[in-house]
């Protein structure tokens, strides 16, 4: 049998490198918590409530404590007096990491 390919569609997807390693991916389905921003609870690949488009317009921010949020969500929190400049997860003083911190 001969097959002639007349048309094809390439499909690609992207993901932020949030530090969810491959073995974690295996049980990602049971623990979807890892894939959402803890503040707005929208997936990292989605965008924060003030943005319309995900991606570079609504990037993530990594803390040295290894916690990840939508940048806009975290900055909004740090701008409130009650945040005391602490990470909303572990209450350590927030220090932005340059990129993903290995856990």
């Amino acid at each position: 049998m001969k097959v002639a390919v007349k048309q094809w569609h390439a499909v690609a997807y992207w993901k932020w490198d949030t530090g969810a390693t491959t073995e974690q991916d295996a049980n990602a389905d049971e623990d979807a918590e890892d894939d959402v921003c803890g503040i707005c609870r929208v997936s990292f690949e989605g965008c924060c409530p003030t943005c319309k488009m995900p991606g570079d317009d609504c990037p993530l921010i990594w803390g040295q404590c290894t916690h990840v949020f939508h940048m806009h969500c975290l900055l909004k929190w740090l701008n409130t007096a009650s945040s005391k400049q602490q990470c909303p997860m572990d209450r350590r003083t927030w220090v932005t990491a340059e990129r993903k911190v290995d856990r």
Binding site: C40, R41, M53, T80, S82, P88
Partner: protein, 179 residues
Amino acid sequence: MLKIWSMKKNEETAAKKKPKVSAAQIRLQKDLTELEEFKTMTTDFPDPADLLHFNLIITPDEGFYKGGKFLFSFNISTNYPHEPPKVKCMQKIYHPNVDTEGNVCLNILREDWKPVLNLNAILVGLQFLFLEPNAEDPLNKEAAEELRRDREAFAKNASLSMRGGTIRGQTYERVLATP
């Protein structure tokens, strides 16, 4: 690539036309779908279209307040989850961590709030206040003092207050679950 940029423009204009649903509402909707089932707590939305204002009914099944039915109002600001919900007890009750105005002293409703918390955390916190009132952090100092000194006397007064009794000149509301 060009196509992506033009799609982006279209989406932006489309988004502007949509009615604005606040970030607080979006987040709250998620909280509500994730809300656990508690056999001692039910929520009540007087206006189902308004998620930001609702009531919580707690009917403790053990502890000092067993047999009572307690009502709380939740007011959620448009800044949620950056600000905690404003929670008030709608009845005058005898409780170390609730004053006679209905203000509630629960750490996560005040200084320890953080935006990764959700309604589940608050509900569990409120429920815990009825199971284990905290004498160390009182709003009703006399009740706290009594709990610290004499648990049995406190248990009696808590039960008296739920029946609408008067304790040290303050008359409390009858809050029994069974009429």
